[in-house]
């Protein structure tokens, strides 16, 4: 019978085939394009914005979970380094961003009630940072 640690190790090894990297990128670009286009529409439906945000997060997650063409132990090590850096930076971002927002909105500009700091901001930041660091580490290996 598998012990709890073995199960967790199996889950942590979950990855999608390499072909999903391109699919995830296409999903992200399409959704990003639609989001930009919606900015020019006056009555942007809120439900659509929410769906697109979730779709973008799913697309980014697919990209981070996709294997490389040659997935060896060094690539796995670099991927985990990128996850670690992204996690630390996302925590720092979520601590610093509200303070920066507060300062900008209350001292530099006029006080605003629209200081929204959403889960989307943190998660998209974290996933983008992971992808970015992973690519940088891969190129400099």
């Amino acid at each position: 019978m598998d012990c709890e640690r073995t199960k967790i190790e199996k889950w942590s090894e979950f990855q999608l085939p390499n072909v999903w990297k391109l699919r995830g990128t296409i999903i992200c670009l399409l959704i990003f394009g639609i989001m930009i286009a919606l900015k020019f529409i006056d009555n942007e439906p809120l439900w659509l914005k929410d769906v697109l945000r979730k779709g973008l997060l799913v697309g980014l997650l697919i990209v981070t979970l996709s294997k490389e063409k040659i997935e060896d132990e060094m690539v796995t090590t670099l991927r985990f380094k990128a996850y670690t850096l992204a996690f630390i930076m996302a925590v720092m971002y979520s601590l610093i961003q509200p303070v920066a927002d507060y300062i900008v909105n209350n001292f530099i500009y006029e006080a605003s009630k629209h200081n929204d700091f959403s889960y989307f901001q943190v998660l998209s930041f974290m996933l983008i940072i992971q992808i970015m660091f992973f690519e940088i580490l891969k190129r400099n290996r």
Binding site: I70, D72, E73, M74, V75, T77, R141
Partner: protein, 66 residues
């Protein structure tokens, strides 16, 4: 960790790509190991040992920093 993989590879007249294919990694991984930027796992070290026909200690040495 220091290594003499480049020398061992030259003895067998293997390119980085040939060696990478033999042990199932990318060419960049072999390049990083040779440049001491990456320390391989025991599994990979033993695969290299099998290709070179020598014990791991013959081509991997601990450096003063280790």
């Amino acid at each position: 960790m220091e290594n003499t993989i480049k020398v061992e590879r030259a003895i067998l007249d293997l390119t980085q790509d040939d060696l990478a294919k033999k042990i199932g990694v990318s060419r960049q991984t072999i390049n990083s190991i040779e440049a001491n930027r990456y320390v391989p796992s025991t599994v990979l070290a033993l695969k290299l040992s099998e290709v070179f026909g020598k014990p791991v200690n013959d081509f991997f040495k601990l450096s003063k920093d280790d």
